[in-house]
């Protein structure tokens, strides 16, 4: 660190820096050098990082002070955050708990026909409906009916909320370039920030026993596709059609509801489809924060090295994904007005 020592004394900061801290923890490299009887020599020109600068000038923080500072900041802000976030997120807890209770209380001979009826009504396609019935009975055959229903109820609630909030946000983004520029980095953050990084602090805010914890985890990850694709779909509506709508004297609301949304619907449905897929992708991580469902079986298989348990539960998740994908794609084909045959 002689390099930076010279720098600080040249800048006249010797007094401000203070003497070097003899009680600082030694590193393994230093100890190894001690064993060999020589002083540890680092590179000639070390990179100007906090830790390297700290060795020459005691007043400069070490990197661990930065991470500690962030932790202290969060703990200090915790009471305020709790007051703000608790009421907003409490309905999510209620919805998840109610959905879980409902899906578990309904006997299978009511639930399965109901699901098959819903898939027929949405898709009007016989192959898809038969596939849905077969897949659910297959899961029931291997005693995975209960956990599959738990996962299905969680996905149902989280997808509904994602769409309910995502489509309006996407519409708002499509109207304002500035909003789009500021929201897109946030979407990138939500998709790439490791979930546990914000989940563990959330455990400090809410209790881990509350279902809103894994609800938030799933929603924050799954809401991104529907926002992006709604924004894209509306922006991609043909300019000529918009001009025609203006020529007819439509106001903004009429344009949105009668022209833009119907024409953007293929993209929006693709966004909803992707949201469902991403919710299912989060099932195992949600189980790491105590969500019930197929994820629990996957984790048990991993931890106990029971490969079969993990694989069967994983295939269960895939089956659910395929069911939901086919049903939503068939529903999309029905509402796709851009493909209307004359």
């Amino acid at each position: 660190m002689a390099f930076y020592n010279k720098l600080f004394s040249a800048l006249g900061l010797g007094d401000w820096c203070g003497t070097s801290d003899d009680n600082a923890p030694l590193s393994l490299a230093d100890l190894a050098a001690q064993a060999g009887g020589e002083k540890a020599s680092g590179p000639f020109f070390p990179i100007p990082s906090f830790d390297n600068l700290h060795e020459s000038c005691n007043r400069i923080w070490q990197s661990r002070d930065v991470t500690n500072g962030i932790e202290e900041g969060f703990l200090a802000a915790k009471p305020v955050l709790k007051i703000v976030l608790d009421p907003i997120t409490q309905p999510l807890s209620w919805m998840l708990d109610s959905a879980l209770w409902l899906f578990e209380v309904m006997p299978w001979f009511i639930m399965v026909p109901l699901l098959v009826a819903i898939s027929w009504y949405a898709s009007r396609s016989r192959p898809v409906t038969i596939f849905v019935a077969v897949a659910i009975m297959l899961l029931a055959l291997v005693d995975h009916y209960d956990v599959a229903m738990q996962t299905l109820s969680i996905i149902f609630v989280c997808t509904t909320i994602s769409v309910l909030f995502g489509v309006p946000i996407g519409i708002a983004m499509s109207k304002s370039d500035r909003l789009q520029k500021s929201v897109v980095p946030l979407l990138d953050l939500l998709q790439t920030l490791p979930t546990f990084v914000y989940l563990i602090p959330l455990i400090f805010l809410f209790s881990v026993t509350e279902s809103k914890l894994y609800g938030i985890a799933i929603i924050l990850y799954a809401i991104v596709p529907v926002i992006r694709l709604t924004d894209l779909g509306i922006r991609l509506v043909d300019r000529d059609v918009i001009e025609a709508a203006n020529a007819f004297g439509m106001n903004g609301r009429q344009k949105l509801l009668r022209v833009q949304l119907p024409l953007a619907l293929p993209n929006i449905m693709a966004g909803i489809n992707q949201t469902i897929m991403m919710s299912l992708a989060m099932v195992v991580i949600a189980s790491l924060v105590s969500a019930p469902g197929l994820g629990v079986n996957v984790l048990r298989g991993i931890r106990n090295l029971e490969l079969g348990v993990g694989i069967v539960a994983g295939i269960g998740i895939v089956l659910l994904a395929v069911i939901l994908d086919r049903v939503s794609k068939a529903a999309l084909a029905r509402v796709d007005k851009t493909q209307v045959k004359h």
């Binding site: 030694l26 100890l31 455990i203 400090f204 105590s290 984790l299």
Partner: protein, 323 residues
């Protein structure tokens, strides 16, 4: 003349090769590195001693216990598994019987402490919560909830059966199964920050217990005959019993044990008392140090301990540190 100089050159080359081989006869060693505090300290200390004392080329392999046991049973790598908590590893017994792995020593010589814990501030306010009977009588004082281990850990079945046997489920305590060890640890931290009641399963020596002082709930003596039934989910007759000391062992792969005698005897001697490990972990917490720096603290503080683990050649090499 050409032939003579070539001959001398060959002899020199041979001599150099032989001496280099003898200096580096340890070769390559792979050692498991668990991600929890005490395992990191053990691996860092072992790695330092092997590299500086024996001249090995050490690779650390980040793993947790169950994948490590699977790996060593199928492929024989990594060579050394540190800190296998046998209570939490269902695969361990079968592998030892098959001979694929050889346990060489209890790396935590006092064994691990496992059991039901409540925070110290709770016991100070309500001393009756220090026993299981006290908790059964006052479930609302511990928040009406028991924080249980995640699915797949052996302690899940044991704790659930003990809750049934102790009448806590009937008293209205919710058996909350955590999704992962991380959320279990985070729930302790969160309860401690907010000074809320907490009651659940944990183990030591760990950084969590070092940072957040907790009291072990008294549950009576350990009864080995009921423990086997308590460890299974389908136990019809769960019975009350205290937790045993948890065996925490260092395990070597079969082939490595046969090939590398020097390191095998080092790992057989390498062992920490609970007090040493807890003090080192507490030092790491207090000084915001990394686990590597914690290993350095151990090596500089407990010189008389680890000197005895090494063979004579290694002790000579590290004599500067043992002064």
């Amino acid at each position: 003349m050409f032939k003579i100089s070539t001959g001398i050159g060959c002899v020199f080359a041979a001599a150099i090769t032989v001496s280099v081989a003898q200096a580096n006869e340890c070769g390559e060693v792979s050692i498991m590195q668990g991600d929890w505090g005490s395992a990191q300290i053990v691996t860092a200390v072992s790695k330092f001693l092997m590299e500086e004392g024996y001249g090995c080329e050490v690779t650390t392999v980040p793993l947790s216990s169950n994948p490590a046991l699977a790996s060593v049973s199928e492929t024989g790598e990594p060579d050394i598994l540190t800190e296998i908590w046998t209570n939490g590893a269902p695969a361990y017994e079968g592998l030892v019987e098959s001979g694929a792995i050889i346990p060489v020593t209890e790396v935590l010589s006092d064994g691990g402490v496992e059991g039901f814990f409540v925070p110290n501030y709770l016991v100070e306010k309500h001393p009756e919560l220090a026993t299981l009977e006290g908790i059964t009588a006052n479930p609302e004082l511990v928040g009406n909830r028991f924080h249980n281990c995640p699915e797949g850990w052996t302690c899940l079945n044991v704790s659930t059966n003990l809750l049934k046997a102790g009448g806590l489920i009937d008293a209205g305590i919710d058996n909350f199964v955590h999704g992962s060890g991380e959320t279990l640890a985070a729930s302790i931290a969160s309860a401690y920050e907010n000074k809320e009641p907490w009651f659940g399963f944990y183990w030591g020596p760990t950084s969590v217990l070092g940072k957040y002082p907790m009291t072990l709930v008294e549950m009576g003596e350990h009864k080995p005959d009921v423990w086997a039934c308590n460890s299974t989910a389908e136990c019809e007759t769960p019975a009350m019993s205290g937790f045993p000391r948890s065996l925490v062992v260092t395990v070597l792969a079969k082939e490595f044990m046969a090939e590398n005698q020097a390191i095998s005897s080092l790992m057989t001697n390498l062992s920490f008392t609970n007090s040493q490990m807890s003090k080192t972990l507490a030092w790491v917490e207090d000084n915001d140090a990394s686990y590597d720096e914690g290993a350095v603290h151990f090596l500089t503080t407990y010189k008389d301990m680890w000197g005895a683990w090494l063979n004579d050649a290694a002790r000579d090499k590290l004599s500067a540190l043992l002064k």
